[in-house]
Symmetry: C2
């Protein structure tokens, strides 16, 4: 959550001014003791085990490229690259997904303390929660206090209600108050993303006063000093001023004259997907969060938005693949969970797919009479499904990016009709050539109806036009329908569209066959 | 590209210190004249037309929510909300995708100048390129100069080789040199994303000297003063120092003692997807770009990474939907382009799907004898396709996020075998119950083979286990295979997996039928 991430010296604990290098002196002093105190022999055993896992996985890792890069620099940049016995953060990161909780916590204990802390801060909330609950009670407090309040709130949400009180107790009183306020927001609202530690100014201050006031605030745990928000006594947001402008301004000018009043802002209850769209539209790095009365509640920074964008893209992709969103990394989710989330949709789709048996039962006499029709059935219904899958992926993604809105359905409909017909004609021509060439070559002469391969070819071509057009329209309109009824458009998954198109495809195919083959075969 | 986006006063042009409000005074003074000089009557006509389009689309727009929010603030925050005749940037943004080039350029001309410039800067490179080529030559220069060098490079790449020289001529000599250097990089490399305008320091400077040196650099068009890079005379990157640390440091301390030397860096030829992964792993807001010799080339800021993440997710989604990546917004791409990109894959899939006809031809005597088998064919092969689509979406997404790597294939394989068997069993049980209930109810008695519905049910159940397992394995392993041969794993699309599974599904189904029905029906 820290936008100055990777920069030590930002988290001020109890400053201990002595011979310790500055970056380490900044860390909370309590973080010593048994955490890093694995006996040397055990430590090198743990390191060796983790390194073995890392090496096996790092075959195509970015870390390798990064290490090569750092070696090319003029300074030795990785921590002790020559000392073979120690573990590096990159190795632990490589091995991480394959380690169990014990190994993970041992891994953190053999890393240099500063690296371990940075590593812990960069973990996902899920991993942090699991580790915190795994640590012995005496150690939890130190690790917990490394985290910013918004990250603590995420961890507590991940840890579940039964652990909430226990984890909240680890915090000092003011932080606990902040975290409790953040926990009132849903995880996917702007309020759930925001940090309450922003820099604030009064409009009447001079630039000079503002700079020294910010200097003082910089010593507290604030998220960024680079944008300061100008508030009235009731916490209403009046404007924003960048540190850079303040710095460049004439020293006696007042903040009210320097600040930008036309501020893009988001509401605390705004959905995180909307927030990320506003970031993209306005090219922001940070946005203020206000409540319904225009009172400032906090800020959301762009680094959290990167996570949101990835998360939403993953959710959409998984829904589109025809399952419930997994909500955690693939390798980290249990088989049981995975089966539950996949089986539900597969079963629903199977039940939908059973309608194909009903539809085929209805046309069963045609199948009996003209067996050759069965040969082209999968080809026709799959093509419908494929064109539907293309159309729905386009519309879902365009909706996610805000390019296509609910009101555009008619526009999309007209486009997709034209496109569907052309695509259907292309596939129809290709497929009927195939049927006729094989037919002329006598491939179908032993099959009921095979002698009328010209008519069968025409049936296949006509059905492809119908099915592709239908698939395209279903695929492109279903996201609009789902959105209208309040569902996620991304649920218009490839498998769902394919299933819907399969049933109608059978009806289209046999209806066209009845028309074309009437009097000849049927 | 500007991480201080939305903050006017960052782009210093020719400062004109007079009665003009500061924000406007900062803009290049040439930007007057005919650009905003649409006659008042024509201007309100254009505004009315665009507003009509915007209103129709904004039904579910975020802008509405934002406007409500801004109205709740203590100050009138939108430009002239009461003056009905004028157009706002939000209205233009709403209407944008539906406007043609003429309307877009008119829209920019009726916006207040400052808004128009911000609007233009926030557009995609594609839109910027189209507009620049559409403007009359006399106006191009002013618009072009609003853009940062890295954005100019993107625009020139979008505008195509035939316009390159013409657009480069619009730049002043130093910018042209910078842009030409950036154009040497591929669009999707770190070098293509970076800005060359970063703040730099020497290691021997004191904190005080560094701050005033940065103050001077802040007047130039640099991307951010908040991180300064410490370079030796040969441009080797020695370290990074945050403005905040500099600010908090004892004034006479030298930069070399304040800077962080363990700097995460990327190479100029690194792929943008890898860069975005490094941003996420290390929670960065900005990263330095170095060449093979460790020399500093530029910086990449997190706001560009948000765009990269969105772009990559869109490309992956479209490939997964079974088509080529569109590379532009849905509503902006021509039908011709769309048909070409969709038809190619659909035709390839159709040709693959033709193998189902071949496979069915092979089992044609079974179909003739036991017509009832045809009824359950779509259901079985679709279930295989659906489970494959789930598995491939999981693996593709996990690969994109770096959670699963090439070396993990064996791990995934073992997981998916277990999951596939369980999923197959679940579906098999559900489907066979359906077949047996319908069979017992006499639904199949008029169909060849319908009297042996218990055996048919067993065949369907067995085939589902086989097809679902096979689909799961195909879906999860195909991304690894594609990656190994150097293709994009996201091409393991739902339609491709479904097509591959269809053919094998037919073979599995009829083979199991032969075994179970041997001596009874076949």
């Amino acid at each position: 959550m820290c936008p100055d991430g990777g920069e030590p010296g930002e988290r001020d604990g109890d400053p201990v001014e002595d011979a310790v290098p500055e970056a380490i002196a900044d860390k909370p002093a309590e973080l010593t003791g048994e955490i890093a105190a694995l006996p040397p022999e055990e430590a090198s055993k743990v390191a060796a085990e983790i390194r073995a896992v890392a090496e096996q996985r790092s075959e195509d890792s970015d870390a390798v490229e990064l290490i090569d890069l750092q070696k090319s620099g003029p300074l030795p940049l990785l921590t002790r690259p020559e000392d073979d016995d120690s573990l590096t953060a990159d190795e632990l990161r490589d091995a991480w997904p394959l380690l169990d909780l014990d190994e993970r916590s041992d891994g953190l204990r053999v890393l240099p303390r500063e690296d371990a802390e940075d590593f812990f801060i960069a973990l996902t909330a899920t991993d942090q929660a699991a580790l915190l609950l795994h640590f012995r009670p005496g150690q939890r407090r130190q690790w917990m206090r490394l985290l910013e309040p918004d990250d603590v709130a995420d961890v507590i949400q991940e840890a579940g209600d039964e652990n909430r009180a226990r984890l909240l107790d680890l915090l000092d009183a003011p932080t606990r108050k902040e975290v409790t306020a953040l926990l009132a927001y849903a995880e996917d609202e702007a309020g759930g993303l925001m940090s309450t530690r922003y820099a604030r100014l009064r409009p009447q201050m001079t630039a000079d006063e503002a700079i020294s006031y910010l200097r003082r605030q910089a010593r507290d745990k604030i998220e960024t000093i680079y944008y300061a928000y100008v508030l009235d006594p009731d916490q209403h947001l009046l404007g924003v001023v960048s540190f850079r402008d303040l710095f460049a301004a004439e020293p006696r000018k007042v903040v009210a004259d320097i600040m930008e009043t036309n501020v893009v802002r988001v509401s605390d209850e705004m959905d995180q997907e909307t927030v990320s769209r506003i970031f993209a539209e306005h090219d922001l790095t940070v946005v203020p969060v206000v409540d319904k009365d225009g009172k400032m509640k906090g800020i959301v920074t762009v680094d959290d938005i990167v996570d949101v964008v990835q998360e939403e893209a993953t959710e959409d992709a998984q829904k589109f693949g025809g399952m419930e969103a997994l909500d955690m990394p693939y390798l980290a989710s249990s088989r049981r969970d995975m089966i539950r989330k996949r089986a539900r949709w597969l079963t629903i789709l199977l039940i939908g797919e059973m309608l194909t048996a009903t539809a085929l039962g209805f046309f069963q006499h045609a199948l009996d009479e003209v067996t050759i029709l069965a040969l082209f059935l999968p080809l026709i219904i799959s093509s419908g499904g494929n064109s539907g899958s293309q159309a729905s992926t386009l519309v879902i993604r365009a909706m996610a990016l805000g390019e296509v809105r609910a009101a555009d359905w008619w526009l999309v409909f007209r486009r997709e009709i034209a496109i569907g017909i052309v695509l259907g004609l292309i596939l129809g021509v290709v497929a009927s050539i195939r049927v006729m060439v094989w037919g002329a070559a006598g491939a179908y002469h032993h099959i009921h109806g095979g002698e009328h391969y010209m008519l069968i070819g025409a049936t296949v071509a006509g059905s492809l036009v119908g099915c592709v057009l239908w698939g395209t329209l279903m695929g492109s309109m279903l996201p609009f329908v789902l959105r209208r009824v309040g569902a996620d458009p991304a649920s218009a998954s490839a498998p769902l569209v394919a299933t819907l198109v399969d049933v109608s495809g059978i009806i289209i195919y046999f209806t066209i066959a009845h028309v074309i083959l009437a009097g000849v075969l049927l």
